[in-house]
Amino acid sequence: MASPKVAVVGAGVIGLSTALCITETCPGCSVTVLSDQFSPNTTSDVAAGMLIPHTYPDTPIHRQKQWFKETFTYLFAISNSAEASEAGIHLVSGWQVFKSTPKEELPFWSDIVLGFRPMSEAELQKFPQHRFGQAFTTLKCDCPPYLLWLEKRLKATGTQMYTRKVADLWELHSEYDIVVNCAGMGAHQLVGDKELFPVRGQVLKVHAPWVKQFIRDGDGLTYIYPGIHRVTLGGTREKGNWSLSPDTGTTKDIFDRCCSLEPSLQGAQDIEVKVGLRPSRQCVRVQREVLSQGGVKLPVVHNYGHGAGGFSVHRGTANEAAHLVGECISALQGSSSRAKL
């Protein structure tokens, strides 16, 4: 097989980073990204892009930790380089506060982020309703910059990108040898995965440039994440809610909850409301599959279902998916050489 043609469906952080990993691990491949949406209209663009992992109930912890570590290491190097501002990657310090002491005082990722330690009494005084907290420094991937930077890196490798709604993976079998499914929430329709469900998140993006620190309630519902130009205030976790329309009652509720953690947000300007559907699953699906129809085979690599933790593990899962693409190529080359005999 001269130059395997790989189609990546999806252009959010998972699709773009997976496509980039494929160009890095399989330089002989021709990669094309197909998506109905590109930045700034993907789910990734709504997310704050904070590197604070979500725990998937059915993925082994060591695998989640490996994904997070690879992602953190990759972004750490970019944040330290001249490209940091273009890529939208920056360090941010802050606090995670709990109303009651969590069962697990040390999350699995505490030794990967920087300077992780419990908050001091003096620091906790700022949060009278909270009894326990953790201080650390982590990374943030601002979107659109990060997605645009990935697109730029892809274009430099000769990767083509097309706006196209793929209704069925079989549509692609005549033009492509391997299909990589990074369709996020779209996988529900595209591959009929009933285990994939939306967790609706509404956020406010506001102008409050004096907010330099993140604050997150350990329950994951209230958070303040300062980005390059805007601060993301959140949020909601509405399981099974498919609505992409902003809800005004929710907006007020988010604003009030965030102001109680950081009163100076009362002075925030220019409030923009956004909604995204976290493509949630009990475990992230990073898996090879060979689809078969009427004697024709189509190798597929799935990489979707990252829910609330897409940014935190994106590079790790992209590496794994690229590796699976490599396996697909070997399998195709093996069978094509067998066919020649």
Binding site: A84, S85, G115, E123, W210, Q213, P263
Partner: protein, 348 residues
């Protein structure tokens, strides 16, 4: 009772406010007047980045450490007030970097979350092998000074735009107490060989991805002569110049290059930052802050002067503690003039 405050930087305005807050109720005839040749945004305080951080060494002045602490605690108490944004007050974390281990500073328990840097954090800063991380406060002069001015205006304090040439000029006019908060130009009012300029120059850039302050230290070159990056609410300040005895307030191309090159080496992403301004100012440096009373005699008249100047590069850091100390000296003067029936108690 007329009180003239000379100087409208952070020291003059905060001293005026502190005195008015404490004594206006007790001395109904109290009239405060602020005289200055420069007002915000043209004072030294306006040029400073506004980071609360004392020098590394307290230079043996334990009183100053106490005043620093009083200022930090006072500001921390205002962090959640509705005024915080208008004051230009917010929390910020960051790094102090060294090329060798150093003793912990006098202020380690004043700031929040003080700790040493981990090896992984030090990877961010090649060339530096030791450092601290802590959370401190920013108090931006360009917001704080207008806020102080508004509070004073509400209290009917009067402002006069004039360069005062001598204490006699104001005291001869019927003023009972003079507060000398004239910073760098105190020497024009009364010679003080201990007061010397510590010239600084800064470049203002747009680098909104920088969320931490980064202050490097080089024991050989001395305080603030090593690159530093301080992100504000509107722009980021790049600095690293401290020239003792240099009175020039002109921006120097040589200093610009030195700041730019060294800061970009520290944070490579700064190469892409847009430069939006440059400024030079004179830190009113002194071996210790001059905060004391002096009686000035002119013929039959006697005026009390309270000196409050010489805060070097830590004026914002120490200002409220000094303002309260100046207010205590004022209280003593009032007692002596029997303006008060009983001495003022501690302010609750």
């Amino acid at each position: 009772m007329r009180v003239a405050v000379i100087g409208a930087g952070v020291i003059g305005l905060s001293s005026a406010l502190c005195i008015h807050e404490q004594f206006h109720g007790l001395v109904p005839s109290l009239e405060l007047e602020v005289y200055a040749d420069h007002f915000t945004p043209h004072t030294t305080s306006d040029g400073a980045a506004g980071l609360w951080q004392p020098y590394l060494s307290d230079r043996g002045n334990l009183q100053e450490t106490l005043w620093n602490k009083e200022t930090f605690d006072y500001l921390l108490g205002h962090l959640h007030s509705p005024a915080a944004k208008e004051m230009g007050l917010f929390l910020i974390s960051g790094y102090n970097l060294f090329t060798e281990p150093v003793p912990d500073p006098s202020w380690k328990n004043i700031v929040l979350g003080f700790r040493n840097l981990t090896p992984k954090e030090l990877e961010l800063f090649p060339g530096y092998s030791y450092g601290w991380f802590n959370t401190a406060l920013m108090l931006e002069g360009r917001s704080y000074l207008p806020w102080l001015t508004n509070r004073l205006t509400q209290r009917r304090v009067k402002f006069f735009h004039k360069k005062v040439e001598s204490f006699q000029e104001v005291s001869g006019d019927g003023v009972d107490v003079v507060l000398n908060c004239s910073g760098m130009r105190s020497g024009d009012l009364q010679p003080d060989p201990e007061l010397q300029p510590g010239r600084g120059q800064i470049i203002k850039v747009l680098a909104p991805w920088v969320k931490h302050f980064i202050i490097t230290h080089d024991s050989k070159s001395g305080i603030y002569n090593s690159p530093y990056v301080i992100p504000g609410s509107k722009f980021t300040v790049l600095g690293g110049i401290y020239q003792h005895g240099n009175w020039s307030e002109e921006n120097s191309a040589k200093d610009h290059k030195s700041i730019w090159d060294r800061c970009c080496r520290l944070l490579p992403a700064l190469q892409k930052a847009k430069i939006v301004g440059e400024w030079s100012g004179l830190r009113p440096a002194r071996p210790s802050v001059r905060l004391e009373r002096e009686s000035i005699r002119l013929g039959n008249l006697q005026a009390e002067v309270i000196h409050n100047y010489g805060h070097g590069g830590f004026g914002i850091t120490i200002h409220w503690g000094c303002a309260m100390a100046a207010a205590r000296l004022f209280g003593t003067i009032l007692q002596e003039k029997q303006q008060l029936a009983t001495p003022p108690g501690p302010r609750l």
